[in-house]
Amino acid sequence: MRERDTVWSTLSYVLFFAMLTSLYLIFLFAPIERTMGHVQRIFYFHVPSAWVAFLAFFMVFLASVAYIMTRNLRYDRLALASAEVGVIFCTIVLVTGPIWARPAWGIWWTWDARLTSTLVLWLIYASYLLLRGFVEEERRKALLAAVVGIVGFVDVPIVYMSIRWWRTQHPQPVFAGGEGSGLDPQMRLAFFFTLAVFTILFAILTRLSAGVRRAEQDLAELDRLIAIKE
């Protein structure tokens, strides 16, 4: 256990310096985008945040399935922690998006496939977090959350397809997106470095959050034992 803690705390220090490097790469190293200018640099935060949000929601799904199969509260803590971090990063996506869209497209918001799907995702997982406040009993709460975690995730592709048919404005993926896609090598370095940094940040935050939850549950258990003794 101690050894693992050391690994994680080392990782946190590494992350700190990696983040500084990432800021350097984003603001000083990467070239200025030709048509959009400096505002394009928000891309290096926007897309990695979206990646982390999707990764987190996928983790919620996996952990929810694992919980239903094993009934081990450990997976429930993992699902909750991922959902919390996911909603935070999804919020970052939804905030940085309009800030970027205003100068790039001339509008704050448009009901396009990707934007709307992200908003729906945010709504699904925000209600996932909310519902936990409505159930008292720990295992009941975990089960309810796990079912919502699964149903919500299965909904994602259907939401995406439905809204895509509806309308689309968001640019196609710049990577492997066919004709006219692709990034300048320096931009690519800044981007993938930031992506890695955000992924590590996600892992560390999720672990911390799950740890807090575990401590809370342990404490509640102690409280219960003390109450019985008295």
């Binding site: 519902l131 409505f134 159930v135 079912v147 919500g152 299965v154 259907i158 397809m161 048919w165």
Partner: protein
């Protein structure tokens, strides 16, 4: 020997139907609430007849969904109130059948309530029957079925939750969004009298939604009820 599964399903279903039609506790409030929503729409927007045709599908769907929301948390609510869920669970009946019975009875209530509301929709918005009325009804049935599949699962799930009435729409609505898009688009296409082929894609979308979530709910339901107390 246990009766044929279909027979078991039929008795589970008729139990719910009898209970509701004898008390009429949820159908009437749902219907009146639906009327209220339609009325408030008339105050909220002042459309020209052409605009009305575009907006009607959406209005109808909001009226349906909102009034269904009033009723959905009642599903399994009676069982909870009278403590009869335990006896239902004690029956030597497959859990999947209990789900199907509940889903079918919820679906029936929803359709009855929508059938009550639909004439008022036509009168209030001055519509006469449009060409593809059969398909219009099919869209309503498909969209409602998806809603019932999701809400029946969540209804069983939230039995021990506080403030179920608030929690249920919070859980059901975000998941239901794709089916709302499909239903509104398909219904509007038909109301505007556009070619049926334009609605085909949306109808397919609702069908996919229905199949995916009815199956998923059926599978998950078994896990949901086992720890019920």
């Amino acid at each position: 020997m246990a009766p044929h599964p279909l027979k078991q399903l039929a008795s589970l279903y008729s139990k719910d139907i009898k209970l509701e039609f004898r008390s009429r506790e949820s159908l009437l409030p749902m219907f009146v609430f639906g009327l209220l929503v339609l009325t408030i729409f008339n105050f909220s927007f002042e459309f020209s007849p052409a605009e009305m045709k575009s907006a009607a599908g959406g209005m109808l769907w909001i009226a349906f969904t909102f009034s269904l929301t009033l009723g959905i948390s009642r599903s399994f609510g009676l069982e909870k109130e009278y403590g009869s869920l335990d006896s239902t669970l004690l029956m030597p009946v497959d859990r999947g059948l209990i789900f199907l019975g509940k889903l079918l009875s919820n679906f029936t209530f929803a359709l009855v309530q929508e059938a009550l509301l639909l004439p008022f929709f036509f009168v209030f918005f001055n519509f006469s029957l449009f060409p593809d009325f059969g398909w219009f009804l099919a869209v309503i049935c498909l969209g409602t079925f998806g809603f019932c599949a999701v809400s029946t699962l969540f209804s069983a799930l939230t039995l021990s939750a506080r403030m179920r009435e608030i929690l249920m729409p919070l859980l059901v609505f975000p998941v239901y969004i794709p089916a709302v898009i499909g239903s509104v688009k398909a219904a509007s296409t038909i109301i505007r009298g556009e070619p049926l082929a334009w609605a085909a894609m949306w109808i397919k979308l609702i069908v996919v939604f229905d199949i995916v979530f009815a199956t998923l709910a059926y599978i998950l339901f078994e896990f949901v009820l086992e720890e019920q107390s």
